[in-house]
Point group: C2
């Protein structure tokens, strides 16, 4: 079996991370999600908490500083570049599933790469972050919407395309059909595309 | 088996119409695509050629006339309304697959409805419209891009959301995996969602 990479982008609370983990286990390849954070932290000397927050940065101030000609590379951008290099070196090395971190964009020119996006209705996601992830937020629906806005702003700024735009992915799935079912459908897609035997 | 509706939106040349037809045949339910055009033509007394062109209207002039307060309902809008009513009456009556015509939006509040979007890389679509559909165009890639722009303008204007936005659909598929495979994956999704036994 030739080396291949699967990237999974996901809405918060959609179960995308768990789907990616199940898929990696089922087909027996490596899985990278939070591992990327600790690896980037080691690489840059920055804290894991800081790296974790990269994706929540508001790009508007960066755009403004670019426009005004006052832009100088800052520590957020440096951490993003370090993380991107790390993702590429992992993809060069072994077959794997990578969740989040704009990996679909970072690896857009890689061959033998399939990109997926997992979403679900906002109410289902609000329920999941409270009941399954144990997140303590006053208004889970409002928290989800705020998170969506941050994540899409970040992705759209980095990639200059739209987060969740079907054409950026091989397949997108509403995970309401279930975690195992969604992981199974991604596996089927990989088989149909010839990546898996 | 309870009544259910499948809508399929598709990029031109992606094979979405054929995928919808195969799916309908495989699961034994009705199929509506160009049938909607002739039925709307009969209903309104307008020609099929005219109805066929509704989706290619530039919404910009309509927006402008709305903005200027000079808007009066025109024959395009009346044909759209007649077609929307027809789609709803079909959905009330029987299980079916409906291709195109903003059916996902028109039936957005219907229960037991699953929405799919089929796309493919522009080069593959350009090849398909020439080799399989027999379309005679000088520059197939340019023709595809022009068509995408028209179709997305129309959909975005009618629905006030984005054409091809993953969250508008239960699943989106890059049909490069093949026509039968794509139809099979939609059938699997319907089974996982409990619509098909």
């Amino acid at each position: 079996m030739k080396k291949f990479i699967v990237t999974i982008a996901r809405e918060h609370g959609s179960g995308g991370r768990i789907i990616g983990k199940k898929l990696a286990e089922n087909i027996g390849i490596a899985f990278y999600d939070r591992e990327l954070i600790s690896m980037t932290a080691k690489e840059t000397g920055l804290s894991e908490a800081f790296i974790n927050e990269i994706e929540d940065q508001k790009p508007s101030s960066l755009l403004y500083s670019l426009y005004m000609g006052t832009y100088v590379p800052n520590v957020y951008d440096e951490a993003f570049v370090a993380q991107s290099n790390l993702i590429r070196s992992i993809a060069d090395k072994e077959s794997c599933v990578i969740v989040g971190r704009c990996a679909d964009y970072i690896l857009r020119e890689y061959e033998n790469c399939c990109h997926f996006f997992i979403h679900a209705p906002v109410e289902a996601r609000a329920k999941r972050i409270v009941e399954e992830y144990g997140e303590k937020v006053k208004d889970p629906v409002a928290a989800i919407k705020k998170w969506d806005k941050k994540r899409s702003n970040y992705y759209n700024f980095i990639t200059q395309t739209k987060w969740g735009r079907a054409q950026n992915y091989n397949m997108t799935i509403d995970s309401s059909i279930g975690i195992d079912q969604s992981a199974g459908m991604i596996e089927d897609y990989l088989r149909h595309s010839g990546m898996l035997d």
